[in-house]
Each structure stands twice: as C-alpha cells, then as structure tokens.
Symmetry: D2
Subunit: 326 residues, 4 copies
C-alpha cells in the first residue's frame, strides 16, 4: 500500500429540518463551528479541526458520505490510482467546492457505500478544557461508522487486504463465515464495522464519550428536553467491543451511538476476538433486548455521482435477528 488512512474523520448527513436537528445535536454537546440556512457544521470537544459532522438540509434524509482522514495529499492520489485499478467509480471534490476542507476523493466502495478521503481541513479551537461549555453527553470525538452490507466477506477482504485495516473482533457462523467484523486504522476497536444485512446502508455513527456517566447524563438531558423518544436502545454493554452503549435516533432517523469502554489495539500480536453467532453475551453482555427497529432500520446511502439512493440488496448470509448485527 502506498497510502495511509488515519482514522474515521467526518460524516455528511442529509437532514430535512435543520432546527430540529440542531436541538438534538446541541443537546448531546456537539459544538457548532459554523452554520447557515442550508448547513450546520459540528465538532466534538477534543476536535482541533473544523467539523466531524456536517448536516445538509435536503428533501430526504440520507448519507452523502462517510469520510476518512489520510496523512497527505499524495495519499489521495494513490488511493485514486488504487480504486481505478480496482474498477471502482471515484470523483474528486476540489478544494473550495466544500466548506472548510481541502480536496477530497470520493469512491463508491466494494459494498456500494459512498466513502470519502481527505488530508486537509481547517483548524478550529479545541474545547477540551473549556469545561464550562461542555454539556449533555459531552461528545468527545467521532469514532466509527457501522455499515450494513449484503456481502460482509467482500467488504472485510477489501478493507483488510487492500486498505490496510486490522480486525479487532468478529462474529462467525459455524462454517467460519464472517457475519460481522470490527476493523480499525487508529488503534481502537474500530473505525468501521460491517454487518451482514440488507444494504448498503449506514447503521450508525459512533461517538466516543470520556466516561460512562456522560452517557447517563445524555439520557437525562434528552428526556428532560422532551427528546426521550429519540433513545432507541440502551444503556447496556456489548460483549463484542466491551462498549457501554446508547443508541439514539436523530430527528430524521439517523442512528447515533454514544459509547465508552473500548481498549487499545495497537499490538500486531493482538489476536482478533472471535464471537460465536450463538453466544448470548456477544450482542448484549447485559441490557434489554434490542427493539426490531434497531435490526431493521438504517440510513440510505447515495451515489457519489448522481446523488440518487443506492439500491438495496438482500444479505448473502441467512439473516438471524438476534445475531446478524451488534
């Protein structure tokens, strides 16, 4: 590989009502860096750059792109060469065409997900020690993208073998087929997870919290603001990844995971943790059963060129409700 992907960097979401979205994301403690009638740019409390979440006002909710940060501009060119060779469609978003960010490369990846890469982004004041401005969940940083794809094996192979990701944990069935996999570039449990399911869709964006009590604070604050119905699942703990988790739905149904509790995965001799499809501790180390919505609903993703919704395919592996997804 001639390129270096650093970490999950930002998400671009289409939302239908900016004010409703603002009420929700403000409550969680996101910091608004900039906004106008069509856009809100949010960063988290440890961010030193402009945004990790871009909300665009549109007619329909959708995911325009999930974005990874790379080391340098040269990495973008190498990535383009790689994707072209692989036969994947790519487009360039030149510097200036998007606020606050350098040029970006977008690709419709092997699963049909709209994935973006960037090296340059504007600086912003880091709020980590502005404690009097922290509120709600005190969201500290973007952590990962969780994607439902019809062919997990294909996604797994591509990210592991072609893009340089490592696997921290995975779920396999009796034939040792991968049902779900947690893959990382930064040495945390994951930057991206792929799960067997109707897709391609974005199941959720994960944000890291500094401590477990901030997750409870998020529940209390959302409920007292009348947003309790936006809590979909949790609090609970996943066996897989050790995440103390809370799943929320934003006003357009985009799913946000708040979590705390992963671990360092820097060591080359760290052996990926295998979870059996039938291990009841895998999905829920403890906590209530997940509602059906959590298994069935996810955000539609867009074509990088046309902006149309990418068509869905049924999963290749048999779908089993309690097991196909964390």
């Amino acid at each position: 590989m001639d390129f270096n992907i650093i970490r999950a960097g930002r998400t671009i979401l289409h939302v239908t009502d900016l004010e409703k979205s603002r009420a929700f994301y403000d409550a969680l403690g996101f910091i608004e860096t900039a906004s106008d009638h069509e856009n809100i740019f949010y960063r988290s409390i440890e961010d030193h750059t402009h945004h990790c979440l871009w909300l665009k006002k549109k007619e329909e909710p959708a995911v325009e792109a999930v974005s990874y940060k790379v080391t340098s501009e040269a990495d973008l060119d190498q990535l383009e060469a790689h994707f072209k060779k692989q036969g994947l469609r790519t487009i360039w978003m030149e510097k200036g065409s998007q606020p606050a960010i350098g040029r970006t490369l977008r690709v419709q990846d092997v699963s049909g997900l709209p994935v973006e890469f960037f090296a340059e982004i504007e600086k912003a004041e880091r709020m980590l020690q502005k404690f009097h401005l922290h509120k709600g969940a005190k969201v500290q940083r973007i952590d990962h993208f969780n994607c439902m794809v019809p062919d997990v094996g294909k996604a797994y192979d591509d990210y592991m073998n072609n893009l340089g990701f490592s696997c921290s944990e995975y779920t396999a069935n009796e034939e040792e087929q991968v049902w779900a996999a947690w893959l990382h570039r930064k040495p945390s449990v994951h930057d991206v997870a792929f799960m067997n399911g109707k897709g391609p869709r974005l199941h959720h964006i994960g944000f890291w919290l500094k401590d477990p009590l901030s997750l409870i604070d998020a529940c209390d604050v959302l409920a007292s603001m009348g947003l309790g119905a936006n809590i979909e699942r949790g609090p609970g703990r996943h066996g897989l990844s050790n995440a103390f988790f809370l799943y929320l739905r934003d006003p357009d149904g985009h799913r946000i995971e708040l979590y705390n509790g992963d671990y360092l995965t820097s060591d080359p001799d760290f052996e990926p943790v295998r979870w059996d499809l039938d291990d009841p501790m895998r999905q829920t180390f403890w906590g209530h059963e997940a509602p059906d919505s959590w298994f069935n609903e996810a955000s539609r993703v867009l074509d990088i060129e046309t902006g149309a919704q990418i068509a869905l395919e049924e999963p290749k592996l048999e779908k089993k409700k309690p097991t196909f997804v964390i």
Copy 2:
C-alpha cells in the same frame, strides 16, 4: 399516635437454595454478618446493626415479613394496642426466638401483608469506610418495600392516617382515585409504596446506592459472573421518584431494586407530586419498556400465624399494564 415508626428496617425472605442466593447477594456487595445451614444474615455497607436482609432456607420462596424499626419497646406495645383496636391479627416474637433481634410485633396489615416492628437489634461493625471490602453494587442501605395490593386506597388511608406516614408522590386516575402511592417515615421518597394490583404481594425491596456508577458496576459484575439473566429491567430513570433504577430477580424470583437519585422530603410544606396515569414520563422518564414479568410477577407473602400463603385478590381498580405500577 403514640408510637414512632422510624424507617424500613429489614426483610425476611424464604429462599430454596442458600448457596445460589449467596452467590447473588454477595455479588451485589452485601456483607454477610452470620450464617448457618438454614440462614444467611446480610447487612449493607452503612449498617451499624446486624442485618437488613434475612434469608431463610425453605421449601418455597416467600416473604415472611417486611419490618420497620421503631424508637422504643413502648412503641411496640402501643402499636399492638392500635392494631387490636383496629381488629387486625398480631403476634409477638419474643426476644430470643429470632437471632440478633429483640422482641418483634407482627401484624397482618389492612392489605394482608405480613408486617413486623422492632426496636432492638444487635450491633455490627459498620463497613462504610472499609472501602477495600466494597464490591459489586456496594449496596449502602435498605430503603423501601414496594407492595402490590388489591385496594390501594385502603392501604394509603391506613398508613397515612393511622401509622403516621407522609406521601411524597402518587399516581391518580381521572376520578382522582389513588392508583399508586409512595409513603415515607424517614425523609426520603419512600419507606413503602402501594400499587394497584393482584395482591397482597411484595413487588420488590429497594436498596439505596451511593452513586449512579455503582448501578452500572452491578450490571457488569452480574454479567461477568454469569448472572446477567437476573437483570430484569433497567438501567433507566423513573419520572416518579427520580430514581435511577435497576431491577434484579434473585435466584428464587424475589425482586430487588437498586437505585440512586431521590431527594429530601422532610418539609411539611412539600406538596406530594401528582402524576397522571397517562403521563408517559411517570413510569419511565427514559429507558426500555418494562417486560411483562415486571408487571405480573411478585413474591407471595405469608400468614403471620400459620405461615401459609395469603390468598390473592384481584385489584379493585381496573388494571392497565403501562400504568398500574412503577
């Protein structure tokens, strides 16, 4: 009134397998004061007295008594006189007939619940500052009894008008009939709650935790010990009482609530908080829907004289699942 009830003091539970029970209650951080082949006596970490929970090995799970502490021996005599006048059945358990406690008065109360009163109990070392011995939920003290009774109005009137309890919060229907009421002697939200339901039965015993994180620790520890299935509901927050709650089932199905988050109710001008039966925030300020077991299952209570199970009656007020109980 010529007597002074201080607070919820202890519970006597019949359990069928002491070792299974020990594994469960030890995990929560209860301190074992004494035990033999037939009994285990547990205290909480701030207790200065012998026990707040007595497990007796028996053929069938049941509640032998819920006990209140009173100021002095004279209070017991006054209580006996009061109950006799009221026409309720009472018995004395003389000092020496039960380990570690002075004489107790037992009454089958207006709802048919086996209620006990005592003034004297042996001292024990307080473990509040033995932090290295705290574990699990670090259960700090017994707090309340939650009872399902067929006639909440009758129980409410008796405890308020005859026994000197005050009401902190309650649920009423459109006709202003009391569906559920939280009553206290010590200035917390409650020492006892009565809820409309098939009864008399004990819905749960509530124990107070020193902080919200101890409740999360309880979940983690139970799950890692293989006792995750004993978690029935939560974590979540009740609107009513502001409790950050977790409901557990012990190996015999007795329900234990761990909670944190109430407030001081000492003021005579504190106005009881009224919750409408249809207010969705009442039962669950936030959190998953309670499972059916939580609404339908509770511990049977015994006759103070014969030890037989008290017969159940259907509730007087119409039963509505989402509303009849917190």
Copy 3:
C-alpha cells in the same frame, strides 16, 4: 421541648459585589429565583421553595443569619419563649419585612451566632428533573452550617439538651472534652457542626451533591472559567463524616463546602462515632494537607439587633492546628 426544628434551611450572606458573586454561584449550578440591584436569591436543584441562599449587597462581607426551618408558626412562638427564658436576645422579622418568607425569629445563640427560624417560605419550581438546566456542581441542597466557637462544650450542650439535636460524630481530647461535634435534626450526619476556635464565626456552609463526579465537574468548570483560585482545599475525604469534600471561597471569602458521601442517622441506637484528636484519619481520610487559611479564616457574624460584627473570643481549649477542626 415544644418545638420541632426540621433542618438547616437558608443562609443570608453579605457580599460586596453582586456580579462577582453571581459568576461564582452560577458556575456551581445554583438556580437564581429572583434578584435586583441589592439581592440575589438562589435555590438548589431539588428545592421546592424560593431560596436557600440569599446574597445581600453590603459594604462588608458578613453572615447576617443561618436559618433553620421549623414545622409551624407555633414552633416559632415556643422557640421565642424558650430563648427568653434562657436569657438570650431575640427579635422578630415580621412577614413582609423580608422577601419570599414568612415571619422569622432571630436569636443571638449561646455562642453569639445569629440564628434564624422560619416556618413559611414561598414555593418555587423544583428543577430536579430539568436535567438540561443542571450545570457545574449541580448543587442539590443545602446541608449544614459549620461554626467556629470559643466554647464547643457550651454550644454542644445547648443544641443537644435544649434544641433537640442529636450527635452523629465528635472529636474528643484525652480528658474527653468535646473539641468538635456534628449535630443533626434531619437524619443526615449534620445540620450544624461546632468546632473549637476563635469565634463566633461561620467556617463554611455545606451543600450536598448527588454524586462524587459532580464535585470533580465543579473543579473543572471553576478552573476553565478562571475561578480555579477559589478552590481552597480538596478534593479529599474526611474520616469524620465520610464526606468526599471540596472547599471553595466565594469572591468575598465566604467558604462553601461541596460534598457527597454521608449516611442515614435516623436510628436512636446509632452510637455517635468518637474520633481521637490525634487520629490522622479523622481530618483527612485521604487528601492533601489543609492550607493555613482553612484553619484560620472564617466569616464574621453580625448582631441580630445592631448589625454590628460580634466580637471574637479566643477558644477555651488549646488550639492545635491539625486537630481543632475538620
């Protein structure tokens, strides 16, 4: 006794700059109920009444009164009769002469402290479940007054024998003289503490926090607002009372204790905990040595009739820095 004192109820502080005071108390999460150019009235998050802290703009910092709530107006009359019989000076503040409160009785107590009693106070919205408005230390309620007095024995005897207080913990010297005592009406560790020292002065007002992390949040928020210098001592834990504590100085030097960690003291058979003057764990179970300011500085108190500062007397018992005060 023919009167019933319920609990520590409010404090009236003289401050020299309302805006500076507001910045400080707002940061801690006090809720402003009302204010004008001369006054700010604050309540805590669980308060159902108008205020527990009244700041009055004056030329010099001082304590005008520490106030206890009683059950009824009749209690005030009984208290007046009692104090008159005891030969103490009292005055009435008629209803209407102070905002938001009924008539109050003020007495210059046996130690010379200005103590006030009231039964009636205006209601206010309780913010306990308005989680999105909680901030800083999320101060939950007023808890106690800690007073330096020249004759602890005299204060102890009066509050225990004449005013109906109970003792939870105390420090004694080798001759079993009381050096410091923690006394309560509500069943917590204390509503008032008396310590051997130059006085009468108010050492601090204690406020109860809902959990230990709120205390750490207070430190972070004060520091990030540029108020870090207002932290005088802590965090640490006292052996005596088990308080996880933080001591702050407001802009006029009035000392505020934020704490979490006490226990229920409702039982008549609870034996007061005796701490030896030389037990190093008493003052500081763990934590840094207290600075000299903490031992030497305290707020001056006023004459209930003239408003002049009460003259100071040297303590009767020999002053020992590491031991005379918690």
Copy 4:
C-alpha cells in the same frame, strides 16, 4: 527509519520487599500473572500479554529498564544498528534469559536511561470483561514513562528525529528552549515525557484508568487499607495533557501516576500545544500545590551492563520549582 516502535510496553523495577509491594500493587487492581520468591509479574485489566510491570526483589530500589514494544524481531536488529551507529552502548537479552518474553535489546540512551525493546511476549488471559475481578483503581493499561533528564533538548531531538516520536505538548521558556516535552508513538498524549531536572531518573510510570471515579476509588481503597500515606499528590488536573491525575509512591518510593483524560493525537496536522513556563494553569489546571518530594525525588536508573546506578548530572536549564516538571 527502518524500525517501528509501537508503544510503552513494560517496566522492570527493583524492589526490596515483595510482600509490601504486592499489598500496594494488588490494592490498585493489578492482576498477578506469575510470581516466585524473587519476582512478581503484573498485568493490567486490558492486557492480552503476560505483564506490563515486573518487580524484582533486590537490595536497593532502582529502575532496571523501561521497555517499548516494537512490531517485529527485525525492528530490534535495525534498532541495534541505529544505536551502534549513534555510538550508544547496547546489549542483547536473549530469549529464555528473561521469563515470558522474547529476546530484548537494551540501550543506555542519549540521556543515560536504560531503555529496552521487545517484539515477542507470552499471551495471557485478558481480564477486561471479568468485571467481578476488577478492584481498586482497576488499572487498565500502562501508558507512559516520565523521565527527568539533565538535557531535555538532547532527549527531545533524539526521540523526535531518530526514533520517530511525535510531540503532543511541551513547555518552553522565553528563549523557546524546551523545558519539558510529551512525546508519543501510539496516538495518545504520550509514551514518554522528558523534563528538565537532575538525572537521568525515572519520575513516574503512568497507568491509564477507564474513568475518573476509578481514581477516587483508588484513594478510598488505599486509605482504608492503611496505605493513605502512599498518596503523594492529587487528585487534580494538569493543564498540560488534560490528565485527571493521582500520584502514588510504592513502598520503595517508585512513583506511579494513575490518570484519565487524554485525547487522540493521530493527526499529522495536530499542532503541539505550547505551554509557557509561567502559565499557572499548565502544571495545575486545578488542585493542591505539589509537595517538594514530587519535584525532588525520583527513581535511580541502572547501567544496562554493570547494573550500577547511573551517575546524576545537574540540569542544563535553570531549575525552577513550580515550572520544571508536570
């Protein structure tokens, strides 16, 4: 560079009384992997390998080595070649000569510190989800080494330019000389820090905790076990690194930092945070003044060949107590 250092990996400490050391490290929640009359091997709760702390019984307390993990055996050879070219003394510890670890390369680095590198270490059961076995501070992983060296500039240049470290934060004087620097390989605030001071000595080993409350638990547990005197400084927060910190001294005086609160430093465009030597928030964002011991005392380090103590040199830059070290 032809080698890849991953992270701070282990420390080898000489201690004089294994039982005293065991009582201390057990209290903090370290997991004992193996031990005999001469050695104890400890791992942290997320470790998947044999140990991160090796205590050797010896006549005198000392630091035998601080160790970094590298990617592969080939990295060790490349490192040896690099150090030889640089003129530094190295030795090999062949596989089998030390328990549980592959061959290691030791070097007396540019500051005279005994530094070790390894690629291979035995596996051990990861206790991350064995919550019932977590106790005390629940130490989660080794994080960094903090070293006092006479020439910070030299150490900084070598680790940045020759060994591939990046700088997250640093302190500079008016002439822009580096007084102290926080350097990392894994994307946290640091794997190693160098501070201007008499050295070479090891100031402390830092361990990461999963949440702030575990740090308070550590204080409580140490105090209740009679080890309160081992707490040297804290809790408090550093401006530099945002660490919520606690400094302990083990029975031989080796200093351990427990901390929580850093941030991700993976981005190449993250600009090192510069702190002025005179910024009072740098050392102590909030918290008590550090005791003199914290500035003056540190662990002696040994010659990799002779095992003799490395001679101390006075710092090149003028020593200023409140500023020379965090």
